[in-house]
Each structure stands twice: as C-alpha cells, then as structure tokens.
Amino acid sequence: MLKSVVSKLISAQQTCGFHTTACLNEVRLLTRLRVVDNSEIGKRAMAEGKPPKVICVYNKTRVGYIGDRVLVAIKGQKKKGILVGLKQTQKVKVPKFDSNNVVLIDDNGTPLGNRIHVPIPTILRTILKEKTHSKGADYTKLLAIATRFV
Amino acid sequence: MKRHILCLTTRLTQNSLIKTLPLSRFLSSKEAIDRRYHLFMLEKKRQYDKVGRIEKIEVQYKGLPNECTLIMNKDISTPYDCARHLSQFHMETSALALIDNTIYWDMHRPLTENCTLELQSFTCADPHQVNRAFWRTCSFMLGACATVAFKDSVPVKLHSFPGPDIRSGSFIYDVDLPSLGNWQPTHQELVTLGAEYVKLARLNEPLERLEVGEDLALEMFVDNEHKTKQIPSIAKANGKVTLYKVGKHVDISKGPMISTTGQIGRVAVTAVHKLNGSEDNDANQLYRFQGVALPTGVTINHFAFSILTDRARKLNTARSPVQRAADCEESESIAMKA
C-alpha cells in the first residue's frame, strides 16, 4: 500500500532526486591533484597512476584557490605544495586549467623539482610575492623554475 | 366538464342573451382564476383553429449576428419563434420586437404579414419602449401576485393600473380589498409579498396576448365588478379587449409586454397605501400596491437599490381611480391606456 503510494509519488514527480547543477571543481580535502614539476617523487606518483591527495589546505576556508599552500599525501609521504592551476571557474583574465596542478615544495618554499612543464598563470607572481614574508618561506623560487606564463 | 365549458363558450360567442350567471358572483377567487384561464385557453384554441390553411410570410430580420430573411407561418409564428431560429441568446434577452421600424410588437404575438423585424433587449440603443413594456409587465405581475398572496378568506378584486411612468419610481396596481378595513402592512408582510412576486417571476412563464370580444371579456371578468365596469369603455373603439395571460392569471392591458417573466430580475414590493377617495364610490377599500424592479442582468449596487426602494415607499402620485366623483370614466380611460 505504502509502497504503491511512494512509487506513484516518485513517478508523478519527474524531476530527478539529485541536483544537476555543474560541479564547482573546488580543491578540498581528498581532492586528487596533478604534479606538474619534475621532482622525483612527483614524477613517480604520476607515472604509477597514484596522484597526490589533498589532506590539508592552509587557509581559513579550507578550499584551495590559486596560489594556496596545501599538504598532500603522495606515495605514503606528506609533502607541501602550491596550487598553480585550477579547474574551477576563475575570474576574468585568469586562466582556467583542465586539471588541478600542484608544484611540490619543502617547508622553506623551495621547489622539489627544477622545472615546471606546464604554463603558470601570471597572477601567481603577485600572489606568491604577497605570501612571501621576509622571515618566512620564500615561495618566489617557484616562479624561477617556471618555463612559461600565460 | 370540458364539454360543458365548450358549449358554454359556443353560446357566449354566439352572443347569447344570458347576462350573468348568478352563481359566478360567488365564486371564490381561485375558482374565478381557473375559470378565466380555461376561457382564455379555449378562446385561444378557437382563434388558432380559425387560421385554417397555413400561409407563409417573409420576415426580414435586422441585427446581430447578420441580417436574414425568415419564412414564417402567418398568424401562427411569433417574433419569439424567429428568435428561436437565431440563438438561445436572442430568445433569452430580447424583450420586445420592433415591426417595420414603427410598431412595437409582443414577443408572443403572432405576426400577420410580411414585415421587417428587430429584436430589442433592455440594453439596446433606445430602450424607451422596452422600459415602458417592462414597467407595465411589472404592474401586471403585481396584480397576479396580489391575487395569489392572500388567503381565501380575503377576497381580492383587482381594479386597474395606470400607464407606466418610470420616473415616478415605482410600478403600481390598485387593488380592492373589501374585507380589510384599515390594513397597514408590516415589513414582514411586504417581504412575503415580494417573495411571492419573485416566486411567480422565477416560473419564467411567457406573457401571452389575446384579443377577445367584449362579451367574452365580460363573461371572464364576471366576478370583478370593477373590471366589468371598465370593459365597455375599453371596447368602445373596436369592440375588442386585449388580454394578457401569465401562468393562470389573466388581466386586461393594452400592451405590449416583455417576453417572459424570467426577464424580471431584482424586485421589491415596497409599500401598500390606502387610497382615500370619495364616499360615493363603491371601491372604498382601494389599496395601491407599489414596487420597484430591475431587469435580469442589470447589476446595481445594493446602496443604489436601497435608494430606489426608499423612494418607491412613498405614495405614488399617479391618478387615483377614486379621487374625484367623476373618476369612473377616467379610471376606465386609464385602464384603456394601460
């Protein structure tokens, strides 16, 4: 009896039960990222098909935006990285990438690799400069190893 | 019974010498109504049979939805039949027919010759004659209402009603109530009269017209001394008396009248005034019934209608049949006019 009523209700209501809006593609906890530098660990992780996962985003909203520092789990290790390209819709003139790109760094902000093989958004220059404090980590080293800016 | 009445009518039409049956003087009002109704129907049937071979006439209809020519039966078809050929809308709304742009014709009166026909409703461009017919019909219906509203113990003798005067604010009927000495109706009684009126109107009866000879008219109104007095002067012109019938009620009126009683919409019987006439008149218990009505489809604010009813409560100053000594003739002339 109840079942039939429920089934009737469901058939009457043709809209699907889940929301169908486009997803936001935000970088949050457990998001898979793509390592775009040529660090050894990153290259191996990508080659094995085990891309790193976000386990912490170092900002207050816990949603990673461009230039944010993240903690990733990569090949059983915890590494820090900087988001250098995002899938989610960006502001005007800021490029939107087809994948969420990360460059691995150590605690001082020095990249683990010595080359980035994809383009980097130019806005990252300003963002990283702002984030660098005189006594803290120096993130601008990352810009030095970039091959191309868009 | 039927046969008896038949032979009675044949005698009457042969202008029999019998003046009045003494019995009929003492008919109760209900019996008198029935008798009048039967006589009316028999006369109507007789006139219908008299038509004989059916001839055709051409009626040129003017107006919506388009002009057309209708082939109708002479002396049988009425403007109402023409309206039935057009639409239900025409049947329900037209109140009066205009023949050849000059003569106002009842909807239920047979057409006699080739003519042009216009159907007039209450909302036509010049509704003067329609309004007069409406007011006349309302008076006529008030008489019908007065005859049936009282108990059998109260004899009711209709006197007459003057020609329609809409600007006076009320339609009236003068009724003789000999057994009621000094009756002043309460509000409840007026409401009851109004309800009776509405009940009659809702029956949606057509108003049928018939022209009869003076003798038959006298025979029909034998129980009503006022009418019998009026009839000779009415028939003076051409020996005919025009009668109208609605339901079972038959009364004298000049016409024309509207199509059906259903066209009377909002109605109120507002007052009954005693007319104080001279002592020598036989109708000294004469009462003037007053009311106000609007056609169906006319919507009016209740406040505006209350203004109309308030005004209709005042004594209508139309000429009273008992005002002066020589009023007898006048009242007849009034009745003739009506």
């Binding site: - | 209450f122 909302t123 461009a125 509704p127 309004n131 006076s168 609007l294 006319v298 505006a304 203004i307």
Partner: protein, 203 residues
C-alpha cells in the same frame, strides 16, 4: 545576464507577457503542459470563444497569439511554420482555417488578436478564477456591454429620477429656511427665496 537568441526573429506580441511561464502542474511535466495548451489553442481556433480557468486561458492566449503572428509573418509556404501549426492544431482542418481565415483577418491588425475577459464566479466558493478567451472578430455578440452609460437604461432613469426628487426636496428645504429667515428680518428677501426655488425647477 544572458545574451538574446539571434538565430530566430519573432514579431512582438501585443499582449503583456509575464516574465515566467506558468507550469500548469501535470504529471507528464512540460510535455503534458504543452499537451494541455495544445488542446486549448485548438479549441480557441475552432470555437473562437471558450470559457476556462484563468491560468490556462492566459497561458494559452500567449501561445495562440504567437501562432497567429508566426502564421502572419511567414505565410503558409514556410515549412517550419507549417510544422508548428501542425503541432499546435490537433484538428488538421484548422490549419487551413489558420492560414486562410485568420491570417487575412488579422493581417492589418495593430492590436492583439485575442481578448481575455474575467468571467464571474460564485462569490463564496473556493474555485479557480474563470476567464473567457476569444479571438477578435468572432461572429458572436459582444461580451462586454459597450453602452453601459446609456442614460435611457431603466436603472439610470430610476436613479436619475431619485436624484432629481432628492434635489427638489433639498431646494425646497433651503427655500423654506430662507423664507422663514426673511419673514423674521425683512420681507425683501422673500423674492430671492422664490427665485431660488424656481431655479432648480427650470434647470
């Protein structure tokens, strides 16, 4: 902010178009909604005057207007318009009526092709609003009473007479007052009072 569609050109409708459509709730969803409206539009084109619920009438009116304006704009040789007419008119002889009767009727019209009236409903009943939807130039008598202000209508005559009588009574009252005052003070004013009394009579 959306960009306007440019691939199609449409004529402007002469009716007020609400910003959003009505859903006309239906278990079949938008398809069922259009099915409902198709029936109504077909009925409107066929009978030229129909009575129905207000919501559906208002919605169907827009579609009927669009259909007629498309037919006028493109004519009967335009394949997509024919296709649309075929979809909207469930009875196929009405397609001919649309192109052969309604298009000539409305071709030079500068106003809307349809008319929507609010229909009466019982005062204390919980029913949906009713409406009458009609094509202009239909053969039926008009719904609205054009001559509502005819002074010869019986209700207007009655009210006019009542007003006249009321004024007469007022004038008489005023005249009486002045007359009394004049009697008390001086006899000269009585003439004025009489004049006052006469004036409304003449008017």
């Amino acid at each position: 902010m959306n960009q306007a569609e440019v691939s199609k050109l449409v004529s402007k409708l002469r009716i007020k178009v609400p910003p959003k459509h009505r859903k006309l709730p239906n278990p079949k969803g938008p398809e069922g909604r259009l099915d409902k409206l198709r029936k109504t539009v077909t009925g409107l084109i066929k009978y030229e005057r129909i009575e129905l619920n207000y919501n559906r009438a208002d919605e169907a009116r827009q579609y009927a207007e669009r259909l007629i304006s498309e037919a006028i704009r493109h004519g009967d040789c335009h394949k997509p318009t024919m296709d649309t007419a075929n979809f909207w008119l469930l009875e196929k002889e009405l397609v001919h009526k649309l192109f052969k009767v309604l298009v000539p009727r409305f071709e030079n019209s500068s106003v809307a092709y349809t008319k929507l009236y609010n229909a009466p409903k019982p005062q204390y009943a919980r029913v949906l609003d009713k409406a009458v939807l009609e094509l202009k130039g239909n053969p039926y008598p008009e719904l609205g009473n054009k001559q509502t202000n005819n002074k010869y209508f019986i209700q207007n005559i009655l009210l006019d007479a009542a007003k006249h009588e009321y004024r007469q009574a007022k004038y008489a009252e005023v005249a009486n007052k002045i007359g009394q005052a004049g009697n008390e003070t001086s006899p000269v004013n009585t003439e004025n009072a009489e004049k006052l009394n006469e004036k409304p009579m003449s008017s």
